[in-house]
Symmetry: C2
Subunit: 396 residues, 2 copies
């Protein structure tokens, strides 16, 4: 046994979260793509089957009340809330992340009011956020200003209406400083929208603590909600009365079954709802959230950092120097739960890794991306992944 294997064994033996792996459906593959699609929690199939056969098949329309379908968006939002540091009543689940970015940005610009006509957006963002921000700017008469996150404080001013940032960069895994960036945006009198896709479920976010205005995120990465499971929208409680949605569907009406011609928004987080929620996907997500019941996000973060530290250590040992270059910051306070390695032939390398049972993903043109989900990835997995990577790129 190599020194690193022995170390992995010790780390696994001391891992408080090790037993959590048993709550997922997994196999021999080292699955380091949970930052793209989380693995299947073992209790989801039973719940989905109940939703289809009993709730839909037998109760049919009665399930909107009797099975709690109607209130699912806010009920499941309250399940996500503690994972991102939010008190109940501020999150609704539904629609895609892109649609929620649109709601949040337009609402933020409307809150900012007259005279503020600039939307600042992370230039390195996951593209959809930038495209949607451009549309939100166009439809609210704003100018879009893409900048590097580190430059955000320098461009804020009296014309800034809203700022859209990613908590963790989808490509490099860099964690941005949410508290200080939020404070800077507030100091300029503007509103902040955080995209939590790559941080929720992997590290503490502290939405309430840091006074975040609005946030969005997906649920199919570290929250394991399933392919394309619905996204969520956070609107800070005191801003909810001013949340003026560009998508005021009947589900956000104060009296949805009143079938009234005039629109009167509901109070609270459910003002962020739009149309009929996709119940199958939504209740699969609800079941998937059960795995969090006895887990603290702090322990998840501690293990996540230990996993990425150990991966970088193993890569340093197994991969010939200069063959790959880490794009992920070494400093813990700047690192999410993934490691991105620049590698000239990344596309081919990832293909070979997958053939050999190590699943990460490739981001064009030259990035190998490895996501570490602390609930089901162990240290032996990490050692094996780095070892196979070393073999694939021609190391010892």
């Amino acid at each position: 046994m190599s020194e690193l294997s022995a170390k992995a064994e010790k780390l696994d033996a001391a891992d408080e979260l090790a037993a959590k792996r048993g709550e997922f459906v997994l196999d021999e593959v080292v699955y380091l793509d949970g930052n793209s699609l989380g693995a299947l929690p073992a209790n989801v199939p039973g719940q989905v089957s109940d939703v289809v056969l009993r709730q839909w098949g037998s109760l049919r329309i009665r399930s909107w009340e009797e099975s709690g379908w109607w209130t699912a968006p806010e009920r499941i939002g309250d399940r996500i809330a503690p994972l991102v540091g939010a008190a109940a009543g501020q999150i609704v689940v539904g629609d895609s992340t892109s649609v929620n970015v649109f709601k949040a940005l337009v609402a933020a610009v409307r809150m900012a009011g007259e005279g503020r006509d600039e939307i600042v957006v992370d230039a390195t963002t996951f593209p959809t956020d930038g495209y949607i921000a451009e549309s939100a700017a166009r439809m609210t008469g704003c100018t879009l200003r893409p900048v590097q996150p580190s430059q955000v404080p320098g461009v804020l001013g009296p014309r800034t209406a809203a700022v859209l940032l990613n908590h963790v960069d989808y490509r490099t895994g860099r964690l941005h400083d949410l508290p200080s960036l939020t404070a800077a945006v507030h100091a300029a009198g503007a509103y902040i929208v955080w995209d939590l896709c790559h941080s929720a479920g992997a590290l503490p976010v502290g939405l309430d603590e840091h006074g975040v205005d609005l946030a969005v995120g997906c649920t199919y990465k570290y929250l394991n909600g399933g392919p394309g499971s619905p996204a969520y929208l956070y609107v800070r409680r005191d801003l909810q009365p001013r949340f003026d949605s560009p998508l005021p569907g009947w589900n956000s009406h104060a009296e949805p079954f009143g079938m009234r011609g005039d629109y009167e928004p509901a109070s609270g987080a459910l003002r962020g709802r739009v149309g009929t929620p996709d119940i199958l996907s939504m209740l699969a997500l609800e079941a998937a959230l059960d795995v969090w019941e006895d887990v603290s996000i702090e322990s998840v973060r501690a293990k996540s950092l230990a996993l990425t530290d150990f991966f970088l250590e193993c890569v340093g040992e197994y991969v010939p120097q200069g063959r790959v270059e880490s794009l992920t910051p070494a400093a813990h306070e700047e690192r999410g739960s993934q490691v991105a390695l620049r590698c000239d032939d990344a596309g081919t390398v990832m293909k070979r890794l997958i053939e050999r049972g190590v699943v990460g993903d490739f981001r064009a043109p030259d990035v190998l991306r490895f996501g570490f989900t602390p609930l089901y990835v162990g240290f032996a997995d990490v050692e094996r992944a780095a070892r196979v990577l070393g073999e694939v790129v021609g190391g010892s």
Copy 2:
């Protein structure tokens, strides 16, 4: 056996679609609420189970390609196309009806161009369409003009940009004249958006034949896609290059995995996509559409009219005169696939009907709504529903 029971028996015996009922999970209940939530097709549970256990649980991220997840929105759109009279390549599935109304209306206003700043909307519409139309008007600098559908031709003019109409009124069941209203809108140089929620799967729509510009619809009513299953958007082929979406998410990009900062829309119907599709709900819908494989929409329409005719006949026989009043037009060319009965104590009456195994729904303040899904409702069901209604309201 009463005369009407005997007639029901004969009609059922001659019903070409009678065997279709066996393809659904049904029980002793007379289910006349398929215009709210379609019944469960029998092949859906197996398909959903495969999606969860094998595609997600075992293949995980590979399923985006290997299980056809990525192309599901346009593939399933092509399955819906023949049911609404559309050639392939013009429909994508995804998001809610409300979100699709927003996309379609904003795109229509943009197609109409400068100088056209009025959106005309059905004043009797399902409320969400009106709320979303108001938002679309506000965000495109238009004025919203709600009118009765029959008055639409009279208000069209050089300022009309877009018109949003329901093919079948959700409350009364009235079928509007799609060909002539479409022609009137076109004659005024404006664009038409049809909401097909209450017609698709119940009667022929003829989108291509009548030159409709844009259309939206849900899939959980007569298409039996399941609770909150994704909606769809039709964009006529020759208009697709000019379809300028207000929700340009990464799924509608010409090169979605290029992760490019600049937005370049894809060509074709998939320009209407936004974010990551909700795969569980979407693939349940795909399985649900199998029941249409050997069914013509013309035969469905013929049976639908026979069912509603027979229901009105039975109500005339079993319910004391003056106790209820049909809001649904008697003329076939003005009738969808439901019958709405005005009734002073409709809320209480519907509650009692449901207790006695006849499920319709109540729409405030005084409407009993009965939907007739020709694929699984038979004539004996109709006779029983009317008979129980007669007993509940105190008839013979």
